[in-house]
């Protein structure tokens, strides 16, 4: 670990650092986590810094909020190379690489308006199966509609 990176991480007391985000995707990661900046907790964002592994990368730091496993998995959809450091009292207490899960529940909206998951009155969460990671391809478990990265970005209001 380089000194530079330690410096970035050590500034956080309690929270998370998402490292090794492909350059230019930091904003996308924030959007996926539902972080707008208006929530009140501290957020730092570093874009296009040098990286051993990636050449250039982005880093996102969020103070005062831990991510659930599902949220982290969603990050993997747009930043498959990302690593997560969980920080407590200035220490990295755990570190792991996010992985695109086989099943993604409740996080993305199906683009098919005729799908049961888009019916307001029904108590049903969306569910997608990942059929390919590179390129990313998800299939709605209810209606079978294929979703690609651009659909996911659109669902999250990014594209």
């Amino acid at each position: 670990m380089s000194n530079k990176k330690e410096l970035i991480i050590s500034k956080i007391r309690d929270g998370i650092v998402i490292d090794h985000i492909p350059a230019g995707r930091a904003l996308l990661v924030l959007r996926i986590l539902g972080i707008t900046g208006r929530e009140g907790f501290r957020v730092a964002l570093v874009m296009n810094v040098e990286s051993h592994k990636l050449g250039v990368k982005d880093i996102v730091k969020v103070e005062g909020r831990e991510l659930t496993r599902d949220e982290l998995n969603l990050v993997a959809l747009v930043a498959p190379t990302a690593t997560v450091n969980i920080i407590r009292n200035y220490d990295v207490v755990s570190k792991f690489k996010v992985v695109v899960p086989d099943v993604i529940e409740g996080l993305i909206k199906c683009k098919n308006p005729r799908c049961i998951t888009n019916q307001q009155r029904e108590p049903v969460k969306s569910r997608f199966r990942v059929v390919s990671r590179e390129p990313l391809k998800l299939v709605c478990d209810y209606c079978g509609t294929i979703h690609e990265l651009s659909d996911i970005e659109r669902s999250l209001g990014i594209a």
Partner: protein, 310 residues
Amino acid sequence: MGSLGWLGRDVITVLDFTREDLEVLFTEALNMEKYAKSRLNILNGKVLALAFFEPSTRTRLSFETAMLRLGGSVIGFSGVEATSMAKGENLADTIRMLDAYADAIVIRHSIEGAAKFAAEIAASPVINAGDGSQNHPTQAMLDLYTIWREFGTIDGLSIGILGDLRYARVVNSLIQALSYYRVRLHLISPEPLKPRRELIEFMNSRGMVYDWTDDPYRVINDVDVLYVVRIQRERFPDPMEYERVRGTYKVDLKLIEKAKPQMVILHPLPRVDEIDFAVDNTHHAKYFKQASLGVPLRMALLKLVLGGES
């Protein structure tokens, strides 16, 4: 995936079952043909709920008849009652109610994935009688059963599917079912009604042999089975385009003149005018036969799912 059999299973898509399962069903259906006009008492005391949120007289009556022939009883709703029901409460609550009353639930719904969702809610088996434009598994099982019965096999056949390949739900389920067999598929449709991407990718992933043409005359001499589905005017953005192409896709004596002698024509019915009435009197026409097999096929299905002993 190994066979899980039929007992207590939901029937949501054809792909929930194996080729082996399908053949168990066909054998049972053949047995049930003997009883399709009489009464067995193997499902005495069992109740089947029919939840038809979208009208389909043919499918509903064949399930109802099948259950009655097996000695069971039927409850349910359709038509106006279904519409007012859907306004009053959501699908989830309706399914919970039916689940409490019945041993199995047959559902027909215009929303895609409705049957799967119902199956997640109900403890009783849920049978999909058509949802959205994706799945109609019992129709596909009937289609394959008819072919199996006509030819004694499905492997090695050349199958033409003509009509709306994009929106007709039977096409999707039929192709899923055929993916268990070594068949050659000729897909025949006007350009705007070509199969959607999901279906093309499915056929590719299963290594199916298929081609597409907009001209039935190009492939008619090669098909053993010609499966015809309706082309609806509303599917065409330009009504002039519909008027221009409709004649091309009409199955008439002129078209079947070029067919193999043993070629059979199937259709899920009801038909409008996509098959000329003159064709009904030829030995190729098997769609009425196909429709009549709907009862024994569904008797077999209900018997296997509900565990009736014969």
